[in-house]
Amino acid sequence: MTQTSDKLIIGGREFTSRLMVGTGKYASFEQTAQALEMSGAEIITVAVRRVNLDRSKESLLDYIDLKKYTLLPNTAGCYTADDAVRTCRLAREAGMSDFVKLEVLGDEKTLFPDNEELLKAAKILVAEGFTVLPYCSDDVIVCKKLEDLGCAAVMPLGAPIGSGLGIRNPYNIRIILENVSVPVIVDAGVGSASDAAIAMELGCAGVLMNTAIAGAQDPIAMAEAMKLAVIAGRLSFKAGRIPRKLYANASSPLDGLIN
């Protein structure tokens, strides 16, 4: 299996890379652009905010080749379905695309999703023709409801946003994978390349991260590490791992040993 024959399809669109990256928290726009390039990501998240009326300041999109990347605007900072829907409508108008990363937060300290408001917003957005990728709890019931509403993917968290704690409940992710048909993308919680590989080895369709790359001591090197980890994890999943055994099983033949 080569990477090119293993496409990720979301909302009817094909992607080769299974790593999605955020564009926040970098030291500079140059660094953002270099990290994006190194990550090999094709889908990048952005936030929707008021324009700075001081136009002397540069903007992120001055540094990003929009022919190369699919923008995935988020609703970060929204705590109600109404605010999230409003933000998505603005994002569609600004970006001329229906893709949105829907997040409706419940609390500032944990940034955990408010699943009730999330479902409410997802229903409205799907009806308005958006391709909705919701950030949600690692809860199969919520994921199934989001799928039933017509979301193009589900994006359960591995751990709290920006925490770097890794995939805290791989069993929940497995249960989600066994029970939904849309792509499952782990969004949030990844801290290192091995975390990304674990998500992919579980069978996830992709991984979305921001802080793990932007907050690393060398974000550009970490972007490459994440790219390779996602590819390795995917190949490992597809290849099918050996069963875990408690005792040893020799790799070298027992026949023909010298006495």
């Binding site: 955020g22 564009t23 926040g24 928290k25 970098y26 953002t32 998240t45 952005v46 936030a47 929707v48 905010r49 008021r50 324009v51 009326l53 136009r55 903007s59 992120l60 999109l61 923008l71 605007p73 988020n74 970060a76 409003r86 409508r89 603005l90 994002a91 569609r92 108008e93 600004a94 970006g95 946003i161 920006g162 949030a188 979305l208 991260m209 921001n210 802080t211």
Partner: protein, 66 residues
């Protein structure tokens, strides 16, 4: 007349349209979205959408984010 733009008061000409305000501020229309009193203004309507005194306008764009 005065409008409220992104939460701040802005003086603009009588009979100004959304396009007038964007030009006044030097904002390119390509990658922004505009809300007039919480309703989206489609890009095609920027010239014909006239503003009134006290209107609340939001102009947003994409910034770095996760």
């Amino acid at each position: 007349m005065k409008i409220i733009l992104n939460g701040e008061s802005l003086e603009t000409v009588e009979g100004a349209s959304v396009e007038t305000v964007l030009k006044q501020l030097g904002i390119s229309r390509e990658r922004v979205a505009v809300e007039l009193n919480t309703d989206i203004v489609p890009k095609a309507d920027y010239e014909k959408q006239l503003l009134s005194d006290g209107d609340k306008i939001e102009i947003v764009h994409f910034v770095g984010g996760g």
